[in-house]
Symmetry: C2
Subunit: 396 residues, 2 copies
Amino acid sequence: MRAKGIAPGPPPGLCEPGMDQLPTEFPHQSVTFPEPLPLDCGLALPGITIAYRTYGVLNAEKSNAILVCHALTGDQYVAEPNPETGRPGWWERVVGPGAAVDTGRYFVICANVLGGCMGSTGPRSPHPRRPGALWGVEFPVITIHDMVRAQKRLVEHLGISRLFAVIGGSMGGMQALSWAVQFPEMLFAAVPIAAAAYHSAQNIAFHEIGRQAIAADPHFRGGHYWAQGVRPERGLAVARMTAHITYVSEEALTRKFGRKLQNAEGLSALGEQFAVESYLQYQGSSFVQRFDANSYLTITRAMDLFDLAGEHEGDLAAAFRGARARFLLVSFSSDWLFPTAQSRAIARALNHAAANVSFVEVQSDKGHDAFLLDEPDFHATLHGFLTGCAEQARLA
Amino acid sequence: MRAKGIAPGPPPGLCEPGMDQLPTEFPHQSVTFPEPLPLDCGLALPGITIAYRTYGVLNAEKSNAILVCHALTGDQYVAEPNPETGRPGWWERVVGPGAAVDTGRYFVICANVLGGCMGSTGPRSPHPRRPGALWGVEFPVITIHDMVRAQKRLVEHLGISRLFAVIGGSMGGMQALSWAVQFPEMLFAAVPIAAAAYHSAQNIAFHEIGRQAIAADPHFRGGHYWAQGVRPERGLAVARMTAHITYVSEEALTRKFGRKLQNAEGLSALGEQFAVESYLQYQGSSFVQRFDANSYLTITRAMDLFDLAGEHEGDLAAAFRGARARFLLVSFSSDWLFPTAQSRAIARALNHAAANVSFVEVQSDKGHDAFLLDEPDFHATLHGFLTGCAEQARLA
């Protein structure tokens, strides 16, 4: 189910061949907004491009649109193969015909986040004032709120004044919360999954490991690796491996690998001795083929800076005071990166702010990644919530 | 309280000045055993040197000796400043006059582990067959059992046929378990603290991050960095930072740092934005001054390979069948690296093997590192256990 009805023009020349040895010049579907985008850091981007995909059909009332927000390393290819990597859409279990987010009923939009590397404006985009150069590490610090403001432009561009729902897991859940707080009149429902209202010290610490590993790679070259024809692949792989451990539960790792030896012949201190090691190394090396290190720095920092309560002198309920959406919060029992307690704190603050909120902790031993995996209870919960909301919203 | 009574000869020339640009040639107190040491990997080391320290006085019956085993990055300077780093002894809270391990009563021995870098034979020692070269990455794969066999030589050298106790936290606890299993007649009591009978898939995964970060450092040079006058400092720092996160609880990180900003002036994706980041970076950079990367590879691998049940077809009780020691197991409630469940599994297996075992879970929010920190309940527990054992053993 590709985009129908609304078909933007051909994508702008974000990544022109030959310019700075970019690895891919795939023409992602996108739209460019020439007006400057003011950022939380005080700077402004002089116009932005947002790459996106849509699925299903927007109804005549334009009332059936669902925005799906992706996580740190996700992209806009939520329900179809990513044309660059050939991998299946990252949420085909959840978004598609007859799925919980039914593309036969809803018009689903998914955009690459600001700061990303799949066609939206980010560190790999051309520097606006230096012909032939890329932003690189000079790309400004952005926040989750900035990402959401960029998405708002896309939503308005598509002629939609009110989204039926904003749904996202992990960093996508942070975006759903930001939508509900920044633009309360623009969404009927919000579904933050495996999310939190702030990034904890431990989360920041794990991100910092990844950033240090990238910066330590000799191919990082102070962030100017593209210009020098190299990429900090080993550092980025270490960053991904570290993050990956935090995405899975100890139980899941044990069930999958336990202490299985990969290489029973001979022992060595380095090398793939245990199966879990070669799995992690695979995770790391496949990731560097599809992700840009500077985007990784930019987006992890945006997550670290997210702190809804901090914006209201520590009072999370105050952050939600103007929220109008119906909320479904979902957490997973074995998620130790965004544990249930953090979703519970959001639910409590929403209750305090007299918001309409459901909260479900799904029993799962798959850890944080559970929101991407086969979790029928989660899918049924989401389906039920959306169906109920559709009735309330009198969606046909 | 320095070593008395037994004074070994001057330390052998392990690290001769000028040889391969070693950073330190500090003459650690040590003893060399010229006989080959057979290793679990099938190879043998052609003689070993063990660096150690003792505290207190060995009594006439030689019945009051306690061996303290150190953790991954520890050393033999348990109760006095490390002469290389100038830092206080790593367990001065627990070992000393009047402390739980009272050096006024017991004769305390602590040795740098085989594979270490504080004077015991390890990757930084001279290669036995290549004059002027070091072992480096060619140092054989060793196990916790190998470390313990090396310690046994030291204990016998000191004229001790039976230790009153073997005590250790984390990897030191693995050594205490190995002592109880390998040499059951040679110890009266064993105290594994914050330990496990095997290294879990998650533990292995975290170690693998560190090893990959070291190997990715351009200064690693395939492990031959000493010969080339460089050191993989950034990789080793990332390894240490990763490990450090696993040593502390989320609560402790939050209490200590929360989301405190280090650098409120201006935002950046890289750099020390949050206090927790600069703390981690300090942990990383101070560590590389005192530790050898190849030792880190060797010792983390030894921990990964530890699996007492695996040696007995998955039956941990079978591993303990011959054990004679009185056991005290200690875990800490917020330790997520070696969680209480793992100590409980050991206690269950020991009960099954009809061993004499006490098990205490200390309530603490300090995480794995709690065994090194100010935890009066833990110290009182240890003191009480040793006092009771001393009575049973009829120690004067």
